[in-house]
């Protein structure tokens, strides 16, 4: 998003299409381990110990974060319940018609602790695209414009250190980036009307929300409750299409589409009068990115 906006702002491009298409059925599932006889390089230090899927690569970050700040499993559960709740209003969602309650979450099998089945993103096929043009050109388009107030991409010190040696390990990698995003967009966390936060796993959402300043790490057990995340009544409506957990796993591009729908008033779980709509993209990797959209009223 930052690259697309920068290219248009610099005059390198008039129109940028941002797209993602997934066909995991034919070309390989992200959740599966590598099928080969040997492994060399960084992965030689993890795969022979059974650390080879994304869930297995990220779980220890979340375990450490929850340990450091006394976060209970119910905080992760709240994130999952919010996504499934919103998916029930969204006929396009993979999990439409398949609601999730606390008991079903608690009873579901572990994938890798602290992730139950419902803490993990879907594996599905799909496609999504966004069209970006200058604010001037957008006025001539038939749909209500949605403006990029800020977009950042980057990471923090040695976030790419190999074999789990990143100094700030229990992190979603947004600590240095989030302040730049708010500066660029001229808004504060309290101004955000609705949030889409990439759930590869719920634990990443937990740390992303903390690192974007919505909640102190020590207050997670009070903040991460389902009611807080439900549209339109919650203080921070979250993943209002069902997101990667329950709408469709589109590597987060679906979350960007939903953020735009909220500005246009077209969401199936619409936040009334949403003017500032935020997307936090894939956490715990490097680099990471996040973005804030606004209505015309915010310009």
């Amino acid at each position: 998003m930052a690259n697309a906006a920068a290219a248009i702002h610099a005059g390198i491009a008039d129109t940028v299409v941002v797209f993602r298409a997934l066909a995991q059925g034919q070309f390989g599932r992200f959740g599966q381990g590598l099928r080969r006889n040997t492994i060399a390089g960084d992965f030689a230090h993890t795969i022979p110990y059974g650390v080879m899927s994304p869930a297995q690569m990220f779980a220890m970050k979340v375990v450490r974060f929850m340990h450091d700040h006394g976060v209970a499993q119910a905080a992760l559960r709240a994130i999952s319940l919010a996504s499934y709740h919103h998916a029930q209003a969204n006929p396009r969602a993979v999990m439409y018609g398949r609601p999730l309650d606390e008991q079903s979450y608690d009873d579901s099998r572990w994938i890798v602790e602290p992730f139950h089945l419902y803490d993990c993103c879907l594996e599905n096929d799909g496609a999504a695209a966004m069209i970006l043009v200058s604010a001037q050109r957008a006025k001539d388009m038939p749909n209500k414009p949605c403006y990029v107030l800020g977009a950042v991409a980057g990471s923090q010190y040695r976030a790419g250190a190999s074999v789990h040696n990143t100094p700030d390990y229990a992190s979603s990698s947004f600590k240095t980036l989030a302040p730049r995003l708010y500066d660029m967009a001229h808004v504060q966390p309290k101004d955000i009307d609705v949030l889409q936060s990439y759930e590869n796993f719920t634990g990443g959402v937990l740390m992303s929300i903390v690192e974007h300043g919505f909640c102190e790490p020590e207050a997670c057990n009070e903040f991460f409750v389902k009611e807080n995340f439900i549209s339109p009544t919650g203080d921070l409506p979250l993943n209002t299409s069902g997101g990667n957990l329950a709408e469709c796993y589109m590597h987060g591009l679906g979350l960007n589409l939903e953020a735009v729908r909220q500005i246009r008033g077209e969401s199936t779980s619409q936040v009334k009068g949403a003017d500032v709509s935020m997307v936090i993209s894939g956490p715990m990797v490097t680099p990471v990115s996040s973005c804030i959209f606004g209505s015309e009223a915010t310009l």
């Binding site: 381990g33 022979p48 297995q56 340990h67 099998r109 190999s162 789990h164």
Partner: protein, 148 residues
């Protein structure tokens, strides 16, 4: 049968020019990790230059396999066919991330030996156990961990 913590069949490690001394060390019951000759910074995983001073003067230095559990995970769902049998019927395995206080608190990743359902405490003291895969071609060794 064998005494390996995980059933055989996962991709087996092959040394590269960058990490060859480490793998050779494990074969000889020795833990060799990177240290900078210029600024004495310890480094893991292996890199071509020192992350602290950018010197390329890195050597592999022996260090005791005494560590502290920094984080851990208990894996239940098999994502590789080699682990299907091991994980069915409520099976699990444990992975620990271990800090080495005597080597600049670099972190090593391995399995925690013993009952996969045991309670794991962050901060617990562990020591290394060499797991030799003599029947592999070529033979290789892993470094596992057990509670002290």
């Amino acid at each position: 049968m064998n005494n390996y913590y995980l059933n055989p069949g996962l991709p087996q490690p092959v040394a590269t020019p960058l990490d060859e001394p480490y793998w050779t060390g494990l074969r000889n019951n020795q833990l060799l990790v990177q240290r900078c000759e210029q600024c004495n910074t310890w480094q893991w995983g292996p890199e071509w230059i020192c992350h602290q001073c950018h010197s390329s003067d890195l050597i592999f230095t022996a260090t005791p396999t005494q560590g502290i559990v920094y984080s851990y995970e208990r894996v239940w769902h098999p994502v590789h066919p080699a682990l299907l049998d091991q994980l069915k019927n409520n099976g699990a395995y444990l992975v620990v991330l271990v800090e080495l206080p005597q080597a600049g608190s670099i972190r090593m990743l391995g399995n925690l030996l013993g009952d996969p359902h045991q309670q794991v405490d962050i901060g617990a003291r562990v020591e290394g156990v060499y797991e030799h895969h003599e029947d592999a071609e070529p033979a290789y060794s892993l470094l596992q961990w057990q509670l002290k």
